[in-house]
């Protein structure tokens, strides 16, 4: 349990290309909407966190280019800090700024346009330039290695992963912000274009443009606002080795560790029984069962079976990615904060057509950054 609540939130729809809005226009939009949602004005915000990535934006110090748009230059300027990583890392940093005692409120904004740069070159650019980059490996090639290693170690099949795409793209039909919403059959997923074996087109998240914002407030402020606060009950961020060869890609010890710490903070002993809903970072279909297992919901290698049996379906006992997940919309960096927003909307009971049956008292949101989920942030949200 912490003293920090999410009191306002907004996200753009996620689309393949947003020519109608530059970064400032995206950020200004979600900032105004998040403030409205919180019932606050820009003058009520005393700290700002902007999250972006220089390679994606194609400019150095990209996070300092949206100050006007996020309101941090209001009235002579306020404190602003920046994060290069997933939006959930920005959330964690924003919380820490408030917990320092210096601030009461914090606005966290994140933006990314996958459409403007070259996905393969940019994600190739995250690897070591002496040993790894010259091979041409990039996000999808690395993910394919991880999928293969995971399959081999736990005797999983491509069909197991296909069920994730079927579930999440189907869930996205209820989410107007999703980019890819479709009813897929097992045959369609299996017959989709081979990209990097074992990954096929329908195993892979789309390239998206988008932005998101959340307003965080200390208990002192959160309890005075009209809206029901969504409390951050637990949070942890852990990272593992950068060099792929130093990791067993079928395991995610950083996620295991982050989950353990977040559960401890939130007082959770049996995550499957206690948590009502999960939004996790499924950039590729195989990631959902892999992360689900490392989050401690089931034994290693058993996630795919639970998905196939419907345990994580929209109307299952533990819905996972009822929003459609990252497989349905993947604005990089934004996607983690989008998971937090989706989980928070469910807790408020304001998820519209995608609101799951029954009360959502405790939800888990998850963000990643780096190749094959090098670093993970686990956020436990609750009433």
């Amino acid at each position: 349990m912490t003293d920090i609540a999410i009191v306002g939130m907004a996200q753009t729809p996620y689309r393949r290309r947003r020519d109608d809005a530059n970064f400032a226009e995206l950020i200004y939009g979600v900032t105004c909407e998040a403030l409205d949602d919180a019932g606050l004005e820009i003058g009520d915000i005393d700290n700002f966190i902007t999250v972006s990535n220089d390679f994606w934006d194609g400019r150095t110090i990209s996070s300092m280019a949206v100050q006007d748009a996020c309101g941090s230059s209001f009235d002579g300027g306020r404190n602003v800090s920046t994060v290069e990583g997933d939006g959930t890392f920005g959330l964690l940093y924003g919380m820490m700024r408030i917990l320092s005692g210096a601030y009461q409120t914090t606005l966290v904004v994140v933006h990314c346009k996958g459409s403007e740069g070259n996905m393969r070159l940019i994600t190739n650019g995250m690897f070591d330039y002496i040993y790894t980059r010259p091979l041409g490996i990039e996000a999808t090639g690395a993910a394919a290695l991880q999928a293969r290693r995971y399959m081999d170690k736990y005797k999983l099949t491509e069909e197991d992963f296909a069920h994730v795409s079927i579930k999440n793209r189907g869930n996205a039909l209820r989410n107007p912000n999703a980019q890819l919403a479709e009813t897929l059959s097992l045959d369609q997923v299996m017959a989709s274009k081979p990209i990097a074996s074992p990954l096929k087109l329908h195993d892979i998240s789309p390239i998206s443009d988008g932005a998101a914002a959340v307003v965080l407030a200390h208990r002192n402020v959160a309890n005075k606002l009209g809206r029901k606060p969504v409390w951050v009950k637990g949070i942890a961020h852990c990272s593992e080795a950068h060099f792929l060869g130093d990791r067993d890609l079928a395991e995610a010890p950083a996620l295991r560790d982050a989950a353990f710490r977040a559960y401890q903070m939130a007082g959770i002993e049996d995550p499957f029984a206690e948590i009502d809903l999960v939004e996790l970072y499924d950039a590729y279909s195989y990631m959902e069962p892999l992360w689900f297992e490392e989050l401690g919901f089931c034994p290693k290698g058993k996630g795919a079976e639970l998905i196939r049996l419907g345990a994580t379906a929209f109307d299952g006992p533990l819905p996972v990615n009822p929003s459609g997940g990252v497989l349905s919309a993947h604005a990089v960096l934004v996607a983690g904060l989008a998971r937090v927003i989706e989980a928070s909307l469910q807790i408020r009971g304001e998820a519209g057509e995608r609101q799951v049956e029954g009360p959502v008292e405790l939800a888990l949101a998850h963000g990643i950054n780096g190749p094959c989920g090098q670093s993970h942030c686990v956020v436990i949200l609750g009433e």
């Binding site: 400032a24 226009e25 820009i42 100050q67 748009a69 403007e116 070159l121 330039y129």
Partner: protein, 155 residues
Amino acid sequence: MEKVELIHLRQDVDLPYHWAAGRYGSMMLRALRDRKVILGNRCPQCNKVYVPPRVVCGPCFVQPSEVVELSPAGILAGYSVVNYPFIDPETGQKRPVPYTYAYIKLDGCDNYLSHLVDETDPSRLYPGVRVEAVFRPDGERVGRLQDILHFRVVD
């Protein structure tokens, strides 16, 4: 101490981008291309006029809703004669040196536009000297800030 060979690797990374100018940027660039007009917008709260037009007045955090046509002329507020070569990212061509980088306050505008002035003689360049935009001819403007070829000193 024994001398060992140390190795470095060269990679030329060519990262292409397709940046959206967005709503206000597209408005600005269309006006330059189609009408040889420089646009700004005015904040309804502080009355400041900005170039290029943008979605928000930072200090007021409101939309500068009124779009205004600015004068193509103004004063030179600052300049630098640059003596090192520059590869123009839009053309890949080397720009001849020296060239003059300028900070220009257009008439009726409250902030400064960065551009080039086709003058490298320091005796003709001083803060406050009047300058005006020279547009590329019809048919050569493509919707870029470089549709203004440069500014020139007005005697």
